[in-house]
C-alpha cells in the first residue's frame, strides 16, 4: 500500500481509470448480474481507490463508474440516455453515494497521511531539541541544526549564519554543498526581541518548487530553537565570566587582608612600645626600656624589608630596565651574604661547596645578592632549628648553577611551581609574621631578568632544594646592542 504513496499524480489518476475499466470489463463478461450488485461492485472499486490512492483519483473513479454503469448496464444499453425514470433515481443515487464514499475515505486517508508525516517531523524536531538542550558546544549544535533542517525540509543545502563581533554575517555551519546552478534561498531570521543574531538559510529544491506553508512553519520553529540555544550559550558564558571575576575578587581580597596583616603587625608592636615609653605613669627600668626600644628597632627593620619587597615586586612587574651587570665572583657573593645574615642563621649550621676556580659571571650584584638572601632566609624560616643548610655552586655547560639545600619538611605536594607566584605561601597568611609570600616571586623575577632559570624540588631523603642557573655571558639586551652600534659608527667617523 505504501508503494502508492510515492507515485506521481498522473500515475495515481491512471491507476483509478484502469481499475474502473478493469471492473467494467469483468462485469461485462459476467452474465446476468443484477443491477444492484453491479452498482455495489463499482462502489467497492471507488472505496478501494479512495483509501489506497487518494481523494482526487477516487472522485474520478466515481464519475467513471457512474458513466460505465449508465453506458453498459442501464437500459438503453450502449447509450448515455436513460429510458425509465426509476433508473434515473438509481443512477443519481449511485453517483451521490460514490462521491460521498470516495470523499470520506479519501479524507480519512489524507488525515492518516498527514498524521504520519507530522509524527515523523515531531520525532526529528524532538531529536533536535534534545541535541540542543544537551550540554554541547554551540558549534556542535549549529552543525546538528543544519543537518536536521536539510533532512526535515528535504532541501539540498541548509546553512546557519551568525553575526560575529564585527557585525559581519559569517557562516558557522552548513549541510550539503551549494550547486553551481542558479537556486533560490529562503531565510529564517534568528531573532531575540528586536535583535537579529543571524540567519537560518535553506536552498529550495528547485527554482519553481517553493517551500510549502508547513515547511515554512517548521523552518521558523527550528529557528526559534536555535535562538534558545544561542541565548543559553551566551548566558552560560556570562555566568562563567562572573564566576571567574568573583574568584579574582576573592583572591584580591585575600591578598589585601594578608598584606594588611603583615604590614600592621610590626606597626602594632612599634605603636604599642612607643605609647608605653610615652606613658609617664610608669617608671621603666633600664632592662624594660631596652626591651621596648629593641622591639621598635627590630620591627622597623622588618617593616622596611616588607616595604622593600613590595617595591621590588612592583618594579619587576612594571618591567623596569634590567640594571647594569658586571663580572662577579659567586664564591665572594655567597660569603658576603652569609656574613651579613649570620645573626639570623645562628640556629642553622651552614656548609658551602664552591670551587675556587669558578669563572666570573655577568650579573647585577645587588639582585643576585637579594635572590640568595631570600632563598637562605626561606630555608632558615621553614626548617626546624639545628637542621643544616647547604649552599653549593658549580659550572654546568656555560651556566653557573647555585643550589640551596635544606633538611626541613620539604615543599607540600603541588606547590613546587606555585611557590614562585606572588603572595603564595606554604603556610596560611595568618600563621607567619615574616614575609608576604613575595620572596620567591622576587627571586624568579630577578633570575628571569638574568635569563636564568629557578626551580624547586623535594629531595628523596627529605628536605628541599632551590636551584637557580645564571648564564656566564648574559645575552646582550637591546639597549646594550644599540650602544655598541653607536660606538662602531663613532669609530668609523
Amino acid at each position: 500500500m505504501d508503494s502508492f504513496r510515492r507515485w506521481g499524480l498522473a500515475q495515481r489518476y491512471g491507476m483509478s481509470v484502469i481499475s474502473v475499466a478493469l471492473t467494467t470489463l469483468l462485469l461485462i463478461q459476467l452474465p446476468s448480474l443484477h443491477q444492484a450488485n453491479i452498482a455495489l461492485l463499482y462502489l467497492l472499486v471507488v472505496l478501494i481507490s479512495a483509501t489506497m490512492i487518494g481523494l482526487g483519483p477516487a472522485m474520478l473513479a466515481s464519475v467513471l463508474a457512474f458513466l460505465g454503469f449508465n453506458y453498459f448496464f442501464v437500459v438503453p444499453l450502449h447509450a448515455f440516455t436513460v429510458a425509465e425514470s426509476q433508473d434515473v433515481v438509481r443512477l443519481l443515487t449511485f453517483l451521490v453515494v460514490a462521491v460521498i464514499v470516495s470523499s470520506l475515505a479519501g479524507r480519512v486517508r489524507d488525515q492518516a497521511d498527514s498524521a504520519r508525516r507530522s509524527a515523523a517531523e515531531l520525532t526529528t524536531l524532538y531529536g533536535l531539541s534534545q541535541t540542543i538542550s544537551a550540554a554541547v558546544t554551540i558549534d556542535r549544535i549549529l552543525h546538528v541544526v543544519a543537518q536536521t533542517t536539510a533532512h526535515l525540509l528535504n532541501v539540498p543545502v541548509c546553512a546557519v549564519l551568525l553575526y560575529d563581533d564585527g557585525g559581519r554575517l559569517a557562516e558557522r555551519a552548513r549541510s550539503g554543498d551549494p550547486s553551481p546552478e542558479p537556486s533560490r534561498q529562503v531565510d529564517a531570521f534568528l531573532r531575540i526581541g528586536p535583535r537579529v543574531l543571524g540567519v537560518l538559510r535553506v536552498t529550495q529544491r528547485a527554482l519553481d518548487d517553493p517551500l510549502t506553508q508547513a515547511e515554512q512553519k517548521n523552518l521558523e520553529m527550528i529557528a526559534s530553537q536555535v535562538v534558545l540555544a544561542l541565548e543559553r550559550a551566551r548566558l552560560a558564558e556570562e555566568a562563567n565570566q562572573a564566576r571567574t571575576l568573583a574568584e579574582a575578587e576573592r583572591i584580591k581580597g585575600g591578598l589585601l587582608s594578608s598584606v594588611s596583616h603583615d604590614l600592621r603587625t610590626p606597626l602594632a608592636v612599634i605603636k604599642g612600645a612607643v605609647t608605653d615609653l610615652l606613658d609617664d605613669s610608669v617608671a621603666w627600668d633600664a632592662a624594660a626600656r631596652y626591651d621596648l626600644l629593641h622591639a621598635i628597632n627590630d620591627q622597623s627593620d622588618h617593616l622596611n624589608r616588607l616595604v622593600g619587597n613590595l617595591l621590588e615586586m612592583s618594579r619587576i612587574e612594571a618591567g623596569a630596565q634590567p640594571p647594569a651587570r658586571s663580572a662577579q665572583d659567586i664564591g665572594e657573593l655567597v660569603a658576603n651574604v652569609l656574613n651579613r645574615m649570620s645573626p639570623r642563621l645562628a640556629t642553622h649550621p651552614i656548609t658551602t661547596d664552591i670551587p675556587a676556580d669558578l669563572p666570573a659571571v655577568q650579573i647585577n650584584y645587588t639582585q643576585i645578592d637579594q635572590v640568595l638572601t631570600n632563598l637562605i632566609e626561606n630555608a632558615a624560616k621553614y626548617t626546624p632549628a639545628d637542621t643544616p643548610i647547604a649552599i653549593k655552586a658549580e659550572l654546568e655547560h656555560n651556566m653557573i648553577r647555585v643550589e640551596v639545600r635544606d633538611q626541613g619538611p620539604g615543599i607540600p605536594a603541588g606547590l613546587s611551581t606555585r611557590i614562585f607566584e606572588k603572595f603564595v605561601r606554604v603556610t596560611s597568611p595568618e600563621r607567619h609574621a615574616d614575609g608576604m609570600g613575595l620572596g620567591l616571586a622576587i627571586c624568579k623575577g630577578m633570575i628571569d631578568m638574568h635569563h636564568g632559570r629557578i626551580w624547586a624540588e623535594n629531595l628523596p631523603d627529605g628536605g628541599a632544594r632551590f636551584i637557580f642557573t645564571l648564564p656566564l655571558h648574559a645575552p646582550a639586551n637591546r639597549s646594550a646592542l644599540r650602544t655598541a652600534e653607536r660606538q662602531t659608527q663613532l669609530e668609523r667617523i
Binding site: H261, T265, K271, G272, D279, V282, L292
Partner: protein
C-alpha cells in the same frame, strides 16, 4: 591581688610587648601562642581577662571565644588587624566583650581592660537594683529612670533597650544581639528600627543627644553603654 590577663597571640613580638606593657602596670600576664594552648590555660590558670587575637593556629580565635563562653564569663577583648567588620561582629556575637584594632596605643588598651574588669566585677554583684551613671539613675526594681533627679517617662520598649544596655554596661553589644534580646529573634536584621529607638532614648536621657555621653555608637557594629574607665 592583681588581675590575671591571658594574652593569646601567635605573633611572638606582640606577645612579648603586651607582657612587658601589662606587667609594668601591675597585671599578672601569661601568653598563649595558639588556640589550643589558650583554651587549656583559660581552664587551668583561670585568668580575669583574655586578650584574644582572631587569627590563630590550631584553633581559630572565634572558636576559642565560643568554647570559652560555654563555661566561663571571663571578659574577652578581641585584638585584630583585620578591617573586616564581620569578624569583630562575629566575635562579639559569640560573647566577646570588646575589640581593639591593631595597631593600638597602650593607653587605649589599658582603658578597655579597666572597663572590662569593672564590668566583670559589677556582674558578680548584680543584686544592686539602683545604678548611677553621672546624671542618670536607673532603678531596675521599680522601672524608674531619673535624669538629674527628674523622672523620665520611657515606653516599655525603650526601657527594655536601656535595661539591656545598662546590665552589660561597658560591653559592646552588636545590633543583632540587641534586636534579639529586646525585639525577639525574627527582628535580628532590623537595624533601622533599632536606630530609631536609640535616637528616641538618647533624646530622653542624654543632655546633648547629638553628642551622647551614655549610649555610644560603635560604627557598623552596635552600641555600648559608657562607664568611665
Amino acid at each position: 591581688m592583681s588581675a590575671r590577663i591571658l594574652v593569646v597571640d601567635d605573633e611572638p613580638q606582640i606577645g612579648r610587648l603586651l607582657k612587658t606593657s601589662l606587667s609594668a602596670r601591675g597585671y599578672e600576664v601569661a601568653v598563649a601562642s595558639d588556640g589550643q594552648a589558650a583554651l587549656d590555660m583559660a581552664a587551668s590558670w583561670r585568668p580575669d581577662l583574655m586578650l584574644l587575637d582572631l587569627g590563630l593556629p590550631t584553633v581559630d580565635g572565634l572558636e576559642v571565644c565560643r568554647q570559652v563562653r560555654t563555661w566561663s564569663e571571663v571578659p574577652i577583648i578581641v585584638l585584630t588587624v583585620r578591617d573586616a567588620e564581620q569578624d569583630k561582629v562575629a566575635a562579639l556575637d559569640l560573647g566577646a566583650d570588646d575589640y581593639l584594632t591593631k595597631p593600638f596605643g597602650t593607653d587605649e588598651l589599658l582603658a578597655r581592660i579597666r572597663v572590662a574588669l569593672r564590668h566583670a566585677a559589677r556582674l558578680s554583684v548584680t543584686d544592686e537594683p539602683v545604678r548611677h551613671f553621672d546624671d542618670l539613675t536607673i532603678d531596675l526594681a521599680r522601672r524608674l529612670v531619673l535624669v538629674r533627679g527628674q523622672e523620665v517617662h520611657l515606653t516599655p520598649r525603650e526601657y527594655d533597650l536601656l535595661r539591656v544596655l545598662v546590665l552589660q554596661a561597658g560591653k559592646v553589644l552588636t545590633h543583632r544581639m540587641l534586636l534579639r534580646t529586646v525585639w525577639g529573634g525574627s527582628y535580628e536584621q532590623d537595624v533601622p528600627t533599632l536606630r530609631v529607638f536609640v535616637t528616641q532614648l538618647r533624646r530622653k536621657i542624654e543632655a546633648d543627644p547629638a553628642h551622647p555621653a551614655h549610649i555610644l555608637t560603635e560604627p557598623g557594629i552596635g552600641y555600648r553603654f559608657h562607664i568611665s574607665g
